[in-house]
């Protein structure tokens, strides 16, 4: 079942397209990774899909009113912004905002706390937790919003390796439970291992979209990321390790 479809989506900054004519869809049960170098348009694409920035083309989410959209898609921005000394339960409970007055004993809030293993932290002040724990709190907040689609911008940024793995495993479990999930990632190893499909963006354009093995090709890595890498198919999934930066053609000649 298609949960999100983007058709010819473009975002212009002045005259310059930062997202350029992108068409893709997210199915229920899919974990989709948006990859690409800095400035490729990953964040802008997701924000446009959610109606947070003006855009051309179509997003199935922006066709519906904002109040309905809040019940269809949850958003986890890269900056882990939590103002004030709100408790973990308060932060997670805010996810229930689209459904009317927030109750502290809302069963969906409790379920989200349980699912992310936060029940014992529920009364702690969220901003006093570690970065990894705060990331889990914000995923639980998105989960409490009870939406079929969850989008996350760089959810593993500034997390230690264990927290990065836990975060991606959580998204994989949520996808297995029927959610459609889109995450932007810089770590191609995590993207290769956990995402069902990757969307490779370069200068605002969708260069490749499909299973990790078909997107992380030597040619794409060279042309888009300017790296070569080691690949290995294991029973843990596709293992990917960047090896070298490939200098631009001009510099190579100079050497």
């Amino acid at each position: 079942m298609t949960l999100l479809s983007l058709e010819n989506l473009s975002v212009l900054r002045g005259q310059c397209p930062v997202v350029d004519d992108i068409t893709l869809s997210v199915q229920a049960g899919e974990l989709i990774g948006l990859i690409g170098p800095n400035g490729a348009g990953k964040t802008t694409l997701m924000r446009a899909a959610l109606g947070l920035v003006p855009h051309r083309g179509q997003s199935s989410l922006t066709r519906i009113p904002a109040a309905q959209r809040a019940k269809q898609a949850a958003w986890i921005p890269q900056m882990r912004e939590i103002a004030w000394g709100l408790s973990v339960r308060d932060v997670v409970g805010l996810g229930r905002s689209p459904y009317g007055p927030v109750r502290r004993d809302d069963p969906k809030t409790q379920a989200a706390l349980d699912q992310l293993g936060l029940t014992n932290f529920a009364d702690r002040i969220a901003v006093q937790l570690s970065g990894g724990e705060q990331a889990r709190v914000l995923i639980a907040r998105a989960l409490a919003q009870d939406t079929p689609i969850i989008m996350a911008d760089e959810p593993t940024a500034s997390l230690d390796p264990a927290s990065q793995l836990t975060t991606l495993q959580t998204f994989a479990q949520l996808a297995a439970g029927g959610h459609g999930i889109m995450v932007s990632l810089h770590d191609l190893g995590l993207a290769a291992r956990y995402c069902h499909k990757l969307a490779l963006l370069h200068r605002g354009r969708l260069v490749a979209f499909g299973p990790p093995a078909s997107v992380l090709t030597p040619a794409n890595l060279r042309d888009v990321f300017m790296i070569d890498a080691h690949f290995e198919h294991t029973d843990q999934g596709l293992i990917f390790q960047p090896l070298n930066v490939i200098p631009p053609a001009g510099q190579k000649g100079a050497e």
């Binding site: 947070l52 809040a70 939590i82 103002a83 709100l86 308060d90 932060v91 905002s97």
Partner: protein, 325 residues
């Protein structure tokens, strides 16, 4: 949450004290019966002087506390206060202009109407400057611009004042006071305070959601532009009206949410109601101090608030710094 009943009881006690304290001394029983019957000179004092003064103290303090909590919640900044969007500065300019030109002397409504009129102009200016996007940064910048312009114009009026008496009158008015106010002042401010207060209180869920940032709030169904418009008009109605009748009183909107946040929790929806009660308590107490400490020297409410509020704020900064380190 036990703080709400405590603040409510404190508010009632201070309200009663405000009715009983003043130049005219009488027993509690005589004062209360005079308040109800309105008979004799004591009846006039109670009904026409002390009752409107106590009601205005509740209105001014309540709206400053509420507006302060709303502004801090909206901007997610504990240093935000109602004056940040420039309405109190604009209302002061309106009042100062009416004093300077003599318009204030034409009829009793002239000064508050001038202040309210200038507040409306300031709101329009802020809305035009802040643009149609619902972001908070543009609102802060617009507020600073309007504040700076109002301050500059007020300085210009003082600078060009033809005689020292007019200057003194303006300076005293700007210090903020609740003395010599009547029910007419209450009737001017009350509708604006009720409407503005209801508008701001309706923003509780939106301000809670904004605790997680503007993008997250927007994706939880919060209409950012509508929230900002409601906040600006609601805060402006309250602050414009109370500045018009009592002058500019500082620190309440800044300090009260700060103090109460550690007692009632950080959720803006809860903090707003508590701050309204807390602000009313603080102004009632400060206005009692004005009458008790130097009853013959016409001590100004704004001065007392600054003297009380500044050290309190310094203490809070010290504590916050200690918590952060």
């Amino acid at each position: 949450m036990r703080l709400f009943p405590i603040l409510s009881i404190l508010l009632m006690l201070l309200f009663c004290a405000s009715l009983l304290v003043g130049h005219t001394t009488a027993s509690i029983g005589d004062s209360l019966s005079a308040l109800i019957t309105g008979d004799g000179p004591l009846g006039t004092v109670m009904q026409d002087i002390r009752l409107p003064r106590a009601i205005l103290a509740v209105l001014v303090g309540g709206t400053l506390g509420l507006a302060g909590a709303a502004m801090q919640g909206y901007l997610r900044n504990p240093l935000a206060e109602p004056g940040l969007i420039g309405i109190s500065g604009a209302a002061s300019l309106g009042a100062v202009l009416s004093l300077q030109t003599g318009f204030a002397g034409l009829f009793w409504l002239a000064l508050p109407l001038s202040a309210l009129g200038m507040s409306v102009l300031a709101v329009l200016g802020i809305l035009v400057l802040a643009g149609r996007q619902g972001r908070s940064l543009s609102l802060i910048l617009a507020g600073i611009a309007i504040s700076a312009l109002s301050g500059a114009m007020t300085s210009l009026v003082l600078n060009l004042s033809p005689n020292p008496y007019a200057t003194a009158e303006i300076v005293f008015w700007m210090m903020g006071s609740l003395s010599d106010r009547s029910f007419d002042h209450v009737w001017i401010a009350l509708p604006f305070c009720i409407i503005g207060g209801a508008m701001v209180l309706s923003l509780g869920p939106a301000l809670n959601a904004l605790s997680l940032g503007e993008d997250t709030a927007a994706t939880m169904g919060i209409h950012l532009a509508r929230t900002r418009l409601t906040l600006v008009i609601g805060v402006a109605a309250m602050i414009g009206a109370t500045t018009a009748v009592a002058g500019a009183v500082g620190f309440v909107g800044l300090v009260i949410p700060h103090i109460l946040r550690r007692w009632v929790g950080a959720r803006p929806s809860t903090l707003m109601g508590a701050s309204a009660l807390g602000g009313a308590v603080m102004i009632l107490a400060a206005d009692l101090l004005v009458r008790l400490v130097l009853p013959d020297r016409d001590l100004k409410l704004g001065v007392v608030m600054a003297i009380l509020g500044a050290p309190l704020f310094l203490h809070l900064i010290y504590k916050t710094r200690a918590d952060l380190s």
